[in-house]
């Protein structure tokens, strides 16, 4: 796309910080997203995903640091804002508007909004264009907002928790539509979620944040290769993991597991096998969990401990 040719950095954040009166939502976040991709913005509840999305959409102002889209700050910048669409599951459309009227609004405001495609999607997802926005269920509302966002065909498309309230079949259809449309019209699609399992097959990159800080940013395959799981005898396991960055470990009666944050090269694989340990790949979802988990098994057990 021409935008990408001019400036390879579609989104560039440098020590980006956003403070609310009661908390710091983003803390010195630095990353760069280049070219077209479907990037997953992954994080737990309150990690700062929506804040980052809204900053990208120019709806919020950074407290410190810098955020640029196509080389310019998005806030109050129509040149940039007309190339960004932000779609969340509960867009604050007028509840009395009919769906077709909401689509007309998008058509007015976004120069490349594909109305025909939007109408087709409305029909595909079995929505009634004459229905009022306020009468939609949570899932249908999420579907409709996804349609609005996708049909804008904006060079930067931001989906904030787009599948909230949707049933499994609809979610699957939605991801397939997303992937197919991306293939037809490559662009940067940033999609936030705290459920990675469902979308990992559609993502090319992952931006993992926790408590406003960047935990991981890169290709999803690299994430898969960034850690491995070991299973075996507890003593052997502890000996093998000594000096390594262990993300997670669990000692059971028969099952002892450890997750090590390290690329499993051939030598490691051979050593593990020689020690009688089973080495396997960690699922990205689990890895994200280990990378962001801040509660321990002990804390969990303490919940049922009697104080006297």
């Amino acid at each position: 796309m021409s935008d990408h040719k001019k400036d390879p950095n579609v989104i560039r954040a440098e020590i980006l910080t956003k403070k609310y009166p009661d908390k710091k939502a983003l803390d010195n976040l630095t990353f760069t997203i280049q070219g077209s991709s479907i990037t997953g913005l992954i994080g737990r509840n309150g990690a700062g995903k929506t804040t980052l999305m809204k900053l990208c959409a120019g709806l919020l102002t950074p407290t410190a640091g810098c955020l640029e889209i196509f080389g310019e700050p998005p806030g109050n910048n129509l040149k940039v804002l007309t190339r960004i669409v932000y779609a969340c599951h509960d867009q604050p459309h007028d509840k009395n508007l009919r769906l077709r009227n909401v689509l007309s609004n998008y058509q007015i405001m976004f120069p490349v909004f594909d109305r025909e495609f939007a109408d087709k999607l409305v029909s595909f997802f079995r929505l009634n264009p004459k229905a009022k926005y306020g009468t939609l269920s949570q899932g249908m509302s999420s579907v409709f907002n996804f349609i609005c966002g996708l049909a804008c065909r904006a060079p930067v498309t931001l989906f904030d928790e787009p599948v909230l309230g949707m049933d499994a079949a609809t979610r699957k259809s939605l991801y397939e539509v997303l992937l197919r449309d991306y293939n037809e019209y490559p662009r940067l699609i940033l999609i936030s979620s705290h459920l990675l399992t469902e979308i990992e097959g559609y993502l090319s990159d992952i931006l993992l944040i926790d408590k406003g800080r960047l935990v991981w940013h890169g290709n999803i395959d690299d994430l898969r290769q960034s850690a491995y799981r070991l299973q075996g005898n507890v003593d052997v396991l502890e000996s093998f993991c000594a000096g390594k960055h262990v993300l997670y470990q669990k000692h059971g009666v028969t099952d002892n597991i450890a997750v090590v944050r390290e690329h499993p090269d051939d030598e490691t694989v051979q050593e593990a096998a020689a020690a009688g340990l089973t080495l396997s790949v960690v699922r990205p979802e689990d890895l994200c969990l280990y990378l962001t988990q801040d509660t321990t098994e002990e804390e969990l057990e303490c919940l049922w401990e009697k104080t006297n």
């Binding site: 109050n76 508007l97 609004n105 007015i108």
Partner: protein, 463 residues
């Protein structure tokens, strides 16, 4: 630039979207207006059930004042609820300036629609009553319907409401910073508007004073536009430097970037506040209103030859010398009797207003008649209400004849006529440029209470 072309286009799109989304509200509002207006006009046709004698006058309500008050109230509510309603288009590309311009455009759409509704109301009222007059025959307009005045009033009304709007928008700074204080400020502004806009002058707003005192419509509009432009720029600057508009630039930066505009605004402010009022205050008298005592004084007129003066000579050569001539009358009253019968109150029943008075120059000459003819010099009654000559609606006719030794005086007038007053832009009377122009409540109402109706007068003499 202060506002970019893209921002203007964006503001237009946001406004267009809002207009499209609220089109049914507009339709509903217009239909409601139409029903209220038509209901008011139609009640006037109940006059046929009335039985009073003489000319009947009807006052059509002028909505320029209540609509203005309702509009200001609606604007206050919209502004206070703006943060809630604004979120409905937050997902679309926009800047603080284009959003503010779009918000302004919404308010101006409301003002424009209200003004247009008023003009349509005036025209419909005029057309309906005119049509009714053509069909029925005894119905007419008391005042002349002036298209020029109607349109000038519309312009001035729109301008005035725009100035009020911009003042309110400038107060938005307080809404953002001090929500409660601003609400109090807005309520105060509304109260001042309802009482009288001139009251603001007492707060030292000399620019407003210059507007109130201006008599010429052209200058009034020019000054009003200057003040509006100033307030418009002021609200834009306030919006620009407020936090809401600043995603990446500090207030200092904005001012520095727009230094030319800032200088222009300050210069315009100084010019309007200092120079214009000074040049006007010296030559415009402060009080141009006719004192109410003089305006509404009720008097029996002295002989005052006027335009309605007529002379009639009756040949009395056939009447025997020395005989006495008696006078019989129909709707004519002897002056002294009439004076005694005039009630002390300000209220005059309609039939008395249209009764003529007569006086005899030499009573003895009639009792012992020796002349050849009787000379009747008479003035038909004139009736002016609200600065409008209503005489033509009475259609006064006087006739006199000698029937033997009896002088018959008969005064006739149209028994049932209906004259309609259509006051316009009474809300604008607070400005000197609209004083004594058009029909306002204050000037039309005396018809029913404190009239300047003048009686017809007959002076009888013997030649």
């Amino acid at each position: 630039m202060f506002v970019g072309k893209d921002e203007l286009i964006n503001a237009r799109k946001l406004t267009g979207q809002w207009l499209h989304n609220t089109r049914f509200n507009w339709l509903f509002m217009s239909v409601t207006f139409a029903f209220v207006f038509l209901g008011n006009i139609m009640t006037l046709f109940n006059y046929y059930s009335e039985t009073s004698r003489g000319i009947r006058t009807h006052q059509i309500m002028d909505y320029s004042r209540p609509v203005a008050f309702g509009l200001v109230g609606a604007l206050v509510i919209m502004m206070l609820l703006y943060k809630t309603t604004d979120t409905k288009c937050v997902m679309f590309p926009q800047t603080g300036t284009s959003r503010f311009l779009a918000e302004k455009a919404r308010y101006y759409c409301l003002i424009g629609a209200a003004g247009l509704n008023l003009v349509v109301y005036y025209f419909v009222a005029y057309a309906l009553i005119g049509l009714w007059g053509q069909i029925v025959g005894d119905t007419m307009f008391a005042n002349r319907f002036s298209i020029g005045f109607t349109l000038a009033g519309l312009l001035a009304w729109l301008l005035y409401m725009s100035i009020v709007l911009e003042t309110m928008l400038a107060l938005r700074l307080f809404i953002m910073k001090f929500r409660i204080l601003s609400a109090v400020g807005l309520v105060l502004l509304v109260l001042l508007t309802i009482i009288d806009f001139a009251a603001i002058e007492s707060f030292g707003a000399t620019a407003i004073g210059a507007l109130i005192l201006e008599r010429g419509l052209g200058f009034f509009l020019l000054k009003g536009i200057a003040l509006w432009v100033l307030l418009f720029a002021l609200s834009m600057v306030i919006n620009k430097i407020s936090l809401q508009d600043q995603s990446s630039r500090s207030a200092k930066q904005v001012i520095t970037d727009n230094v030319t505009l800032a200088i222009t605004v300050v210069a315009a402010l100084v010019f309007v506040i200092v120079f214009i009022p000074q040049s006007l205050d010296s030559r415009i008298p402060r009080n141009l209103v006719i004192p109410s005592e003089e305006a509404y004084e009720l008097t029996i007129p002295e002989f005052d030859p006027g335009p309605n003066r007529f002379v009639m000579n009756l040949d009395a050569s056939g009447i025997p010398r020395g005989s006495s001539i008696t006078i019989t009358t129909i709707d004519v009253v002897k002056a002294n009797d009439a004076t005694q019968s005039v009630p002390d109150s300000d209220y005059y029943p309609l039939p008395e207003i249209v009764t003529m008075l007569y006086t005899v120059q030499d009573e003895q000459a009639l009792l012992n008649f020796t002349g050849n003819e009787i000379r009747l010099e008479y003035w038909l009654p004139t009736w002016e209400t609200g600065g409008i000559d209503m005489t033509r609606y009475i259609q006064p006719r006087f006739s006199a004849r000698l029937d033997g030794n009896t002088l018959c005086l008969e005064y006739q007038y149209t028994l049932t006529s209906n004259a309609f007053f259509l006051p316009m832009w009474s809300f604008m009377e607070q400005f000197d440029t609209f004083k004594e122009k058009g029909i306002f409540y204050e000037s039309a109402m005396p018809l029913f209470y404190n009239t300047r109706g003048e009686r017809g007068w007959i002076l009888i003499s013997v030649d």
